[in-house]
């Protein structure tokens, strides 16, 4: 089955769930899971098919694209229904599939309005698949905005902690971001002659330098809002904290990648001169984001806010890697998108599902000693935390070291400043590990974890399955990165040669 069926199958699943009776909750969950698995399977088969042949493809066609479908959609404005895959968006499609399936497993315990939850969830997933595959600026924008609205409802209905505020803030930030993209998109379309929105067509004939210099920041910043770039990141912690588990997994794991992917695919591909002009600004903002996110995470009292700010910090590595404009740095950035997607999903699953749903608190001071009560959660947190702090052997290491090497080539100062974020990351992860999972004799009132949380429900099977899948991915990519890195590198090289 062609990879574009990920989109259609997921939409179909959402539609099917709408037709089911609302009391058949188990049936709804299974339909959602089947939909998620179907999407993932279609994506994975395509991935391995492509992985086998991408060198031939590049040798034969000179570009790394597998054009899945390309038909005129709205000829009046030159919009095409053009979906294509290459080494850069394929890992993200796979990521979306994994986060979708594990997100559904971690949401197995949702009892209120189950039907609507999974319908909104799958609509969001389908939109994200569309953004990653779209190779037409107009189509990309359509999918991008389509993915905004379900987030509002998921957070506002099933969230916690100032959920309506967090949801509205998130949606308005994304929408203002997409308004900037909209303006930039119209400008670049007409500046290029107004014939086609096809990204590859537009990339062939870049618009004039002056236009690029003012349009580039519009499109880049518009997408970077969603990527959590400092100083547009403030929606991220509040949004992540307010969201229910599956939604925070999706937000941090996938939706933030929509932003960085959009920066790459729309802004950087179409406007090389603008990129050249603005790359230092981006790199500096990214480094600020890395250090700021990590530093703020260090002083948080709420377990989920720690993870929320850590996402801002790690997305800084993605943006820094993209701005380096060399093969090592950019490949590292793309791999970091995948790696952080998995890490963030795992961390939010630990915080939201394994801990908060059981203890109903996320305050570090009120938690403690959970390693004895729910050891699986502790193990998961240690592994995800290790990947997050860049421990060798996990995917985070491979990604971040490449970003740092790339940044070093651009300017040693950038690399050194960004590297400051790493020890701080180690500090906040260990701090959280200590306060939440280990005994704290000095605190007195939870000298013994068993007393603080005497009867927590055990970790359920769906949680174990989902947790193990995600942890396995971290290790596989960590030990055998070339399974993904080869094709990322091949396409980054093409990009840097000026071939899209």
């Amino acid at each position: 089955m062609r990879p574009d069926w990920t989109i259609y199958l997921t939409f179909l699943g959402a539609g099917l769930i709408l037709l089911l009776p609302r009391d058949a909750k188990n049936l709804i969950r299974w339909v959602a899971l089947a939909t998620g698995l179907a999407g993932l399977t279609v994506g994975l088969t395509g991935y391995f098919h492509y992985n086998d042949s991408f060198r031939d493809l590049i040798a034969r066609t000179g570009s790394g694209f597998w054009h899945v479908v390309n038909v005129p959609w709205i000829p009046a404005i030159g919009a095409h229904y053009h979906l294509a895959l290459d080494g850069i968006n394929f890992p993200l499609v796979i990521l979306n599939g994994f986060v979708c399936v594990t997100g559904i497993l971690f949401s197995w315990n949702i009892e209120t309005r189950t039907k609507e939850f999974f319908a909104f969830f799958l609509t969001l997933i389908a939109g994200v698949y569309g953004v990653f595959m779209a190779m037409d600026l107009f189509l990309l924008f359509v999918f991008y905005e389509l993915a905004i609205i379900p987030k509002y409802f998921i957070i506002a209905i099933w969230g916690s902690t100032r959920k309506e505020y967090g949801a509205m803030k998130l949606v308005l930030y994304s929408f203002v971001g997409s308004a900037l993209v909209f303006i930039g998109m119209l400008a670049i379309f007409f500046a290029a002659g107004g014939h086609s929105f096809d990204l590859l067509e537009l990339a062939k004939t870049p618009v004039g330098r002056q236009v690029q210099i003012w349009v580039f920041p519009l499109i880049f910043a518009g997408f970077a809002v969603l990527a959590g770039m400092w100083p547009f990141h403030t929606w991220a912690p509040t949004g992540h904290v307010a969201a229910p588990t599956a939604a925070s997994m999706l937000l941090a794991g996938v939706v933030m990648k929509l932003g960085s992917y959009g920066c790459f695919r729309a802004a950087m591909l179409l406007m090389p001169a603008g990129l050249e002009y603005w790359k230092w600004t981006i790199a500096v903002l990214a480094v600020i984001g890395i250090i700021y996110g990590a530093a703020v995470a260090l002083v948080q009292k709420d377990f989920k806010f720690i993870i929320g700010y850590s996402s801002v910090s790690h997305m800084g590595f993605v943006l820094l890697g993209l701005a380096t404009l060399n093969v090592t740095g950019m490949s590292g950035a793309v791999l970091q998108m995948f790696s952080h997607g998995i890490v963030a999903s795992l961390l939010f699953a630990v915080v939201g599902r394994m801990v908060y749903d059981r203890t109903h608190t996320r305050q570090l001071d009120e938690l403690g000693g959970l390693a004895k009560v729910i050891p699986f959660a502790a193990v998961t947190f240690v592994i995800a935390g290790a990947a997050s702090m860049g421990m060798p052997g996990f995917s985070g290491f491979v990604a971040e070291i490449q970003v740092l090497i790339g940044a070093f080539q651009m300017s040693p100062w950038l690399a050194v400043s960004a590297a400051v974020g790493i020890p701080v990351t180690v500090a906040y992860i260990l701090n959280a590990l200590n306060k939440v999972f280990l005994d704290r004799d000095d605190a007195g009132h939870h000298g013994d974890g068993q007393d603080a949380h005497p009867t927590l429900p055990p970790i359920s099977l769906p949680e174990i399955v989902a947790g193990v899948v995600l942890m396995a991915l971290l290790v596989i990519i960590g030990l055998y990165p070339s399974i993904m890195l080869d094709m990322i590198k091949a396409n980054v090289e093409l990009f840097l040669k000026g071939l899209p």
Binding site: I77, I148, V176, A187, F189
Partner: protein, 488 residues
């Protein structure tokens, strides 16, 4: 003059007038003592049937070329046929929504007035002669004033009608006064014969006409009547004012400005403002978008909120009009259609649900997603289309409008300032549209499940499908409009 030709050109209008008179007679003669609900169904069904029959002559003559009779008093071509069909469709949908709505005891009069208003809009769409234009506008407006007052016992409805009438009468005076100048200067009453040198007197005439028509389409600063009229009128009438009358008024305004006053266009490029109607349109449009969206944020009544939102939408439409190109005109016409459908759908859902939930305040819609899942889903579609979220028609319409404004000057991006305001204001509008949906989807209530008649569910679902269709596959209607506008 060939009266047979004239009659055949106006056969659709004739059918509607006939249906109106027959509906009135039917109600007066046979149904005085029947229960109101039954009377509404029979008389309304008859009126709806009349509107459907009126489509037949338009449909059969589709593509049969263009014809201007009696010095442009009646112009029939495919573009006017298309818009007559749009008006008939909107009127038909209003009739369907009215079947379920308590409009008081004067049921025959209600439907007959509705049909007379429809005739006014149809003539408005098909005329190119200034005096006929005025008469048609008056026929439309007078019908709408009467319809607004149909909640006979509600003081609010009376107040709304008086306010609407006062503002409308003054705007008509402006319009007529402006037309008198124009006719006096150019010596012509036909749109296409207005090509006269731009004298101050002609400019004054144009200004007065713009003021008069600005009232009809409710742009800032001529919008003051709209919120009260929308809130006070029976909801189906509100829907009709917000859609049918808007479609006809925008159509005639666009034609008047682009065809009749092409020589007085001027420009509204950033740093290069040339006096003319484009400048006025751009400035009033910008003001409407800002004020309409800002005022809508604080509303607690759904109809009032939609009233301010439609002021903002008039502003968006003016962005396309300010382009003053064929591209812009087809964008305006596309947007008017998709806006009318989404707005009619939204008012339809409000009419159906509010009468059962006990009010039109936002809080009456709490928990509606559980009480009436289907209509809530449809409301979601309509409201998100108004907000301009893809893949719905409203998104594509807005895109096309803004693209037209950019395309006007794609070298220096002279109209970008207007587009920036429009896009940022769309982001603001998402806030209050989401507030509506928040009440429907997020808030809980312990109200009973609401049962709604099947024919209404079906009608509203069809409108929603059309709204989705115009976003997912806009090409057919876009290509049609583009081709028709070329021959404007």
């Amino acid at each position: 003059m060939n009266y047979v030709g004239l009659f055949s050109a106006l056969s659709a209008e004739a059918v509607v007038v006939l249906a109106a008179i027959m509906a009135l007679t039917l109600d007066l003669a046979g149904l005085r003592n029947a229960a109101p609900a039954r009377r509404r169904r029979i008389v309304g069904g008859f009126a709806g049937l009349g509107l459907l029959v009126a489509v037949v002559p338009l449909w059969t003559l589709w593509g049969s070329g263009s014809l201007a009779l009696a010095h442009g008093t009646v112009v029939v071509n495919d573009l006017t046929r298309l818009f007559k069909m749009v008006v008939l469709t909107l009127s038909f949908l209003t009739v369907i929504i009215s079947l379920d709505y308590d409009v008081g005891g004067h049921i025959g009069e209600y439907f007959a007035t509705l049909l007379f208003g429809t005739v006014g809009m149809m003539v408005l769409v098909s005329t190119e002669e200034l005096l006929t234009l005025f008469v048609a506008l008056e026929l439309t407006s007078l019908s709408l004033y009467i319809l607004t007052a149909f909640h006979k016992s509600a003081l609010r409805s009376q107040e709304a009608a008086v306010k609407y009438f006062m503002f409308g009468a003054i705007s008509s005076a402006f319009l007529l006064f402006g037309l008198s100048y124009i006719v006096g200067v150019t010596g012509a009453t036909n749109l296409r014969a207005l090509a006269a040198p731009a004298t101050p007197l002609l400019s004054v005439g144009l200004l007065f006409v713009l003021v008069g028509l600005g009232f009809k389409v409710a742009v800032v600063p001529f919008h003051l009547w709209a919120p009260d009229a929308y809130e006070g009128a029976p909801t189906p009438v509100t829907a009709f004012i917000a859609t049918g009358s808007k479609v006809a008024s925008f159509f005639v305004l666009t034609k008047l400005l682009v065809v009749g006053f092409a020589g007085l266009a001027g420009a509204a490029f950033w740093g290069n403002f040339v006096p003319g109607w484009v400048m006025i349109v751009a400035l009033t449009g910008a003001a409407s978008m800002v004020l309409g969206n800002a005022a809508a944020i604080v509303q607690s009544n759904v109809k009032r909120l939609l009233a301010y939102s439609s002021i903002a939408h008039a502003g968006y439409i003016f962005v396309g009009l300010a382009a003053a190109t064929n591209y812009g005109v087809s964008a305006v016409l596309f947007y008017v259609i998709v806006y009318a459908l989404a707005n009619l759908g939204a008012f339809g859902v409000v009419a159906v649900l509010a009468s059962r939930a006990g009010g039109e305040e936002l809080k009456n819609f709490d928990g509606m997603a559980r009480r009436s899942p289907l209509l809530s889903l449809l409301l979601l579609v309509f409201v998100l289309s108004l907000a301009g979220i893809p893949p719905l028609g409203g998104f594509f319409g807005k895109f096309y409008l803004f693209a037209a404004a950019i395309q006007r000057d794609s070298v220096n991006f002279g109209l970008l300032w207007l587009v920036v305001i429009a896009i940022l204001m769309s982001a603001v509008s998402l806030y209050y549209y989401l507030i509506v949906l928040k009440h429907v989807y997020v808030h809980e209530s312990d109200g009973e499940r609401i049962r709604t008649p099947g024919y209404l569910n079906l009608t509203l679902a069809v409108i929603a499908l059309a709204v989705v269709g115009m976003g997912v596959w806009p090409e057919p209607i876009l290509a049609l409009l583009k081709c028709l506008v070329e021959r404007l």
